[in-house]
Amino acid sequence: MIVAEKKPISEIIETIREHSKVLLVGCKECVTVCEAGGMKEVGVLASALRLYFLNQGRNVRIDEANLERQCDHEFLEELRDVIGEYDAVVSLACGVGVQFMAEKYTSTPVYPGVNTCFMGVTERRGFWTERCQSCGRCILAKTGGICPISRCAKRLLNGPCGGSTNGKCEINKELDCAWQLIIDRLTALGKFDLYEELVPMKDWSTDRAGGPRKVVREDVQL
């Protein structure tokens, strides 16, 4: 899923300081799972903001809403009738949702409530780690299901580098060396000979480097 992290309350206060009617909108998908922008987090943020403004002696209306997702038109449309009542929205969805909301409701400022971090997994409650950087051309079949682009700090395709120590990355003792993982997995799969195959330079044109990307499926378009 997309993993995000709550923005500090102080930052959000700074952002909405000038407004007096604010709607906080959560998302029931990824940000709920990573406990950054779901119903609970919207509730806590709303309460905190109300307390802040009450302490300041200011009458600021902070309302709460939660959408199934903020990356599909249908769900964002559900706000159409009420959004006019607010002079700002704080979306706790990932960066995708914030933008899509802003594109749809152009006369209402839409602010982000979370920092979108990466695509990853819940290793255990309260601990999420990165797995994919959407390079657009998946090579996991060749690396035993472990991605060197997202999990190697240098995205080496012919790793490991000389800094791999005890299966950990040179930049952080707690970070697994992706190439150690790949070697171990290939060995377990009986495919160690794959290791000596030279991987050629990557075509990064499907990655961020090639510019904003799109996927088109004519077969499902009417």
Partner: protein, 310 residues
């Protein structure tokens, strides 16, 4: 072995001599005198001089400019190039820049992560890794073409090297990795500095078992220890370094003022032991900020004067 380039280092190795290389670290400023004076200290005792490329991601005068200064002084530079800071356009371009000054040696590296240096907030590139860089240089030299396919006017004539660290983990792939670098086109290897001679000899044996010692010139890396403090630092704080306890014990058994002398002795002994190892074709002496000791080491190891090659 017939040399393929005008490289003096290649010609020395092809003629069957033990080669000696060393390195100079460029300054954190634009004064070329720093690099020139370092090189002058060692020029008669080495066959080629490596110039490091923003080593440990600390921004310095670039390796390319430094190599040009050395070339203009009549010396034989080895351009160290990391893939951390350059995309494939800049890489090909810098290679041509070096070739335009007839710099004939290149050492291909991925480069330490920028988190170690003075710009941890910077972007990194890693458009390619060190093996793909080796392939790139060979392609430009041997096919005479850019990666994009067009012909290169006056292709580079570079002797291509790579680094290998027999002491990094996991040990099980250190020789397959060497094989991979050779398959990618590496013609010489400079290893990470060796303190654990037993482990190094084991790596060499495994390399020989696969016949790799005949496919590439392996130069053993050595860094003389200045003190027991330095030895301990290397042991605990530098990734991929193997400093045996016996060495620490040996150095701490010697009074402080004499530790650097002992460090030089250890270095010379290592050379004397390793030159007997089948497959070792030379030594890469990395005396970081201690370049003035290189001549002494080379002489005591019996490697002076350096042979004249055609």
């Amino acid at each position: 072995m017939i040399p393929k380039t005008p490289s003096k280092l290649e010609r020395t190795l092809s003629a069957g001599h033990l080669a000696v290389t060393s390195e100079c670290g460029p300054p954190r400023g634009s004064d070329p005198e720093v690099i020139r004076s370092k090189a002058l200290k060692i020029k008669d005792h080495v066959d080629a001089i490596n110039v490091t490329d923003n080593q440990t991601s600390v921004t310095r005068l670039c390796s390319l400019a430094s190599c040009i200064h050395l070339k203009l002084m009549g010396m034989e530079p080895v351009l160290q190039m990391v893939t951390r800071d350059r995309n494939r356009i800049a890489i090909q371009s810098d290679i041509l820049g070096a070739a335009s000054f007839d710099i004939h040696n290149i050492l291909c590296l991925s480069g330490d992560h920028q988190i170690f240096g003075d710009c941890p907030q910077g972007q990194n590139v890693y458009d390619m890794d060190s093996m793909q860089l080796v392939q790139t240089v060979r392609h430009m030299r041997d096919e005479g073409r850019f990666l994009g396919g067009a012909d290169i006017e006056r292709p580079p004539k570079m002797f291509v090297g790579a680094a290998e660290n027999p002491f990094a983990d996991p040990f099980s792939i250190r020789v397959p990795r060497l094989a991979k670098k050779i398959a990618a086109g590496a013609e010489f290897i400079q290893t990470q500095c060796v303190y654990n001679l037993d482990k190094f000899e084991l790596w060499m044996k495994q390399a020989r078992d696969r016949g790799l010692h005949e496919k590439v010139f392996i130069l053993a890396g050595l860094t003389p220890l200045k003190s027991v403090g330095m030895a301990r630092y290397m042991k605990t704080r530098v990734p991929g370094m193997d400093v045996p306890d016996e060495l620490i014990k040996r150095l701490s058994g010697v009074p402080k003022e004499r530790q650097s002398e002992e460090g030089i002795k250890i270095c010379v002994e290592s050379i004397q032991r390793l030159r007997e190892v089948d497959g070792i074709r030379g030594f890469h002496i990395m005396a970081i900020e201690w370049e003035e000791k290189v001549p002494e080491i080379v002489e005591q190891a019996g490697l002076y004067p350096r042979p004249e090659v055609a």
